[in-house]
């Protein structure tokens, strides 16, 4: 039988379709592989620090933990980790709260600790939620921290229960326990 023109062109069309689908498969696999390779490079080869959600240990933390007897709250745990994060925030603010401050490492005031010690924070905590003459109303500890971020740290206002604020409160609480402060404790008093 003589092959009719229609069947001939149909067969050609079929072959073209098959070739196209094979190419498509090749393209897609190439795309996926290149994406995966890119991600692997970013993680391993690019030198950028990988974001992890655990709290990194800064030098000085162990000493701080020993000084303020934080083992009372356990060696590890949610609260202790939050206090550790608070420690990082207070002493290395520019690194751990980069979103809320424009300060960088070289600035004179680059962290909360540039102006406050941990004990200042503890006393501030037990004296918070009181009327503040400068502001004209009762100011909570969180609000005071927010004002610090916005003002002296030349930054922005974090949300009130953002860990950048909460963990500083927890640090203050932990230090206040060590100092055995009670509500309203005054410096130098009993």
């Amino acid at each position: 039988m003589v092959p009719s023109p229609t069947t001939d062109s149909n067969a050609r069309r079929e072959r073209r379709r098959e070739r196209r689908s094979r190419m498509r498969l090749k393209n897609v696999s190439l795309a996926v592989l290149s994406i995966v390779a890119f991600v692997l490079w970013v993680h391993l080869g690019s030198g950028v620090t990988v974001f992890r959600s655990d709290v990194p240990a800064e030098p000085g933390w162990e000493r701080f933990r020993a000084d303020y007897k934080l083992a009372y709250f356990g060696d590890d745990g949610q609260f202790v980790r939050a206090v550790q994060n608070g420690y990082n925030l207070v002493f290395h603010t520019y690194k751990y709260a980069p979103r809320f401050t424009r300060k960088v490492a070289g600035d004179q005031v680059s962290a909360c600790s540039s102006c406050h010690t941990a004990e200042d924070l503890a006393y501030a905590f037990v004296n918070s939620d009181r009327y503040d003459r400068k502001v004209g109303r009762r100011v909570s500890f969180e609000e005071r921290v927010q004002r610090c971020y916005a003002g002296p740290m030349d930054g922005f206002v974090p949300t009130i229960y953002d860990p950048a604020v909460r963990d500083i409160r927890l640090l203050a609480r932990a230090v206040a326990r060590h100092l055995q402060l009670s509500e309203g404790a005054l410096r130098g008093g009993r």
Partner: protein, 539 residues
């Protein structure tokens, strides 16, 4: 040498109009996407802004690479971001490192589930059974939900973490806004909202409405900062983006101690995956219908799934198709993946250059943008067609209410079940009419519809000697149906007719029997390509 340079110049000149067009479209798309990306991540998902920005860069790039459709635009999505926010609310306080880790884990699990939908074909097919009214019902419900959830941020109030989120809380959020909201935040939010809505009224400004609103809000916020001081206004802002570079590799949480929380968010991951898939499939379907052209939705699912599996390692929100942005691309007249990829690069460039400006955008303005987007999701023109048909109306209202009153996960599952169930219910009630002694069945005779068919049949033969059963518009008879027909034949009271002609039908050519109900002029005649399986001799 010079000849080659001239040659390249000639090529560039030849493609320049198109490249130029792509650049402009890319820029427009980037300017529209950036505020959305920032707003979604910060207001809805509770993660820092770079999550949304990376979704707008890398998510769009990866989708453009993997999805062959020319109009597909992925990127951050408001429903998925809202879902992330709701799912993680009881898990960790927003914006913290732990929260971000869980968001990445959630995205990764959602991506893997979407990959499963791609790999297992029947699952993907089930998505097609989720009809348009269901998805529109979800979208409308989520639109309302977006409005209510943004109320607290609109007024500078903290979100109530750990608290479940039923709809009626919205009323008390509104009251809290009026009673204890930050007045400066409310002012900024109102200015943004009013500017956006006014700009939307004018055809020319519609694309730029959100940017104008944000500009107005930011301007007012800067005035406040200059006069009153940021410490005193207490207005939250996006925050410093300077430390964020082109890319930030990240690792989702997957530790033993996090297992209870991870297991708790698995239903949330299913919800997230389904939301993304629904929206992608629906957007592709609508675009294909409006624009012409066709891309298999499986390809879209594949591209979504792969990019959602990869994006959690790049500090990014999960992505899915955005019908609004795709429609914008189409209206701007360019149909090419290059333009979409260029928009991702524009986002990168703009963010790097304007980080300082983005940093001072106030959160209430972002909340106002979300409220506006929520209002836009409640378009009456999209809702009206569904309310015309009763079945669609029931399904639409059902899925709309389920989003509002149930947990998101339950809503998605329930909506899907309702859609499928209603379809089956419809099928199970064929249209049966009895005129004289002709019982005409329009629809399918199968186990689901047999009870209805049989009851009408028995009612009919009880009052008549002879009955003619007209199967002309019956499209499908299953084995159970055949058994019933055989029994009816044996009983002897009924005769069967089928007015469809056909030389392809075997058996007795004279379909019209003793009753003389002959082929009427104008009767519908069906020609089948396959031989008619139902032979006369079977009866």
């Amino acid at each position: 040498m010079k000849a080659r340079a001239l040659k390249y110049q000639a090529i560039l000149w030849q493609h320049w109009p198109r490249l130029n067009g792509d650049l402009v479209v890319g820029l427009t798309l980037a300017l529209v996407t950036i505020p959305q990306a920032v707003a979604f991540s910060v207001t809805l998902a509770g993660v820092p802004p770079h999550f949304g920005i990376y979704a707008a860069i890398w998510g769009v790039l990866f989708c453009a690479l993997l999805n062959p459709s020319r109009v597909f635009h992925g990127g951050p999505n408001n429903s998925m971001s809202a879902a992330i926010g709701v799912i993680l609310l009881p898990i960790a306080p927003p914006f913290g490192a732990e929260y971000m880790g869980y968001a990445l884990t959630l995205g990764l699990m959602a991506g893997l589930i979407q990959l499963m939908f791609y790999a297992v074909r029947p699952l993907g097919r089930m998505l097609d059974l989720i009809s348009e009214p269901v998805i529109n019902g979800f979208i409308c419900g989520i639109g309302l939900f977006l409005i209510f959830k943004s109320l607290t941020t609109f007024g500078g109030l903290p979100l109530n973490t750990e608290v479940e989120w039923p709809l009626w809380i919205a009323w008390h959020s509104f009251l809290a806004l009026t009673e204890i909201g930050n007045m400066y935040a409310i002012e900024i939010g109102l200015i943004t909202l009013v500017t956006c809505v006014i700009a939307q009224q004018f055809e020319r400004l519609r694309n730029w409405a959100i940017l104008l609103g944000i500009a107005a809000g930011t301007l007012y916020s800067q005035i406040l900062t200059a006069t009153v001081g940021l410490e005193n206004t207490g207005v939250e802002q996006i925050g410093n983006l300077a430390s964020i570079g082109f890319i930030t590799p990240s690792l989702p949480i997957f530790r033993q101690e996090a297992m209870p929380d991870i297991i708790a968010i698995v239903p949330g991951a299913v919800t997230l995956a389904l939301l993304g898939l629904f929206q992608t499939v629906a957007a592709m379907r609508r675009m294909s219908r409006k624009v012409g052209g066709f891309t298999d939705s499986r390809r879209a699912i594949f591209s979504d799934a792969v990019s959602n599996c990869v994006l959690p390692f790049l500090s990014s929100l999960p992505t899915c198709a955005s019908f609004n942005r795709m429609w914008l691309v189409h209206r701007l007249g360019i149909h090419s993946r290059i333009a979409i990829a260029i928009s991702a690069l524009w986002v990168m460039v703009l963010v790097l250059f304007f980080a300082g400006v983005i940093a001072i955008i106030p959160m209430p303005a972002m909340a106002a943008v979300i409220i506006l987007l929520g209002i836009n999701m409640l378009k009456w023109e999209d809702i009206k067609p569904h309310l015309k048909n009763r079945r669609e109306a029931v399904v639409f209202i059902g899925s709309f209410l389920s989003v509002l009153f149930l947990d998101l996960f339950e809503a998605v599952i329930l909506g899907s079940i309702v859609a499928i169930a209603y379809a089956k219910w419809e099928q199970a009630h064929p249209n049966i009419s009895l005129q004289g002694n002709v019982l005409k069945i329009r629809g399918n005779i199968y186990y689901g519809s047999l009870p209805v068919v049989e009851s009408m049949y028995h009612g009919a033969i009880a009052s008549r000697d002879k009955l003619v059963i007209d199967l002309s518009e019956c499209y499908y008879i299953d084995h159970e149906g055949i058994r019933w027909l055989a029994a009816a034949k044996r009983a002897g009271k009924a005769t069967f007719i089928d007015r469809r002609s056909g030389s392809d039908r075997r058996g007795v050519a004279d379909a019209d029997t003793a009753d003389g109900s002959s082929r009427e002029p104008g009767a519908v005649v069906h020609r089948r390509s396959k031989p008619d399986r139902r032979r006369r001799s079977d009866f």
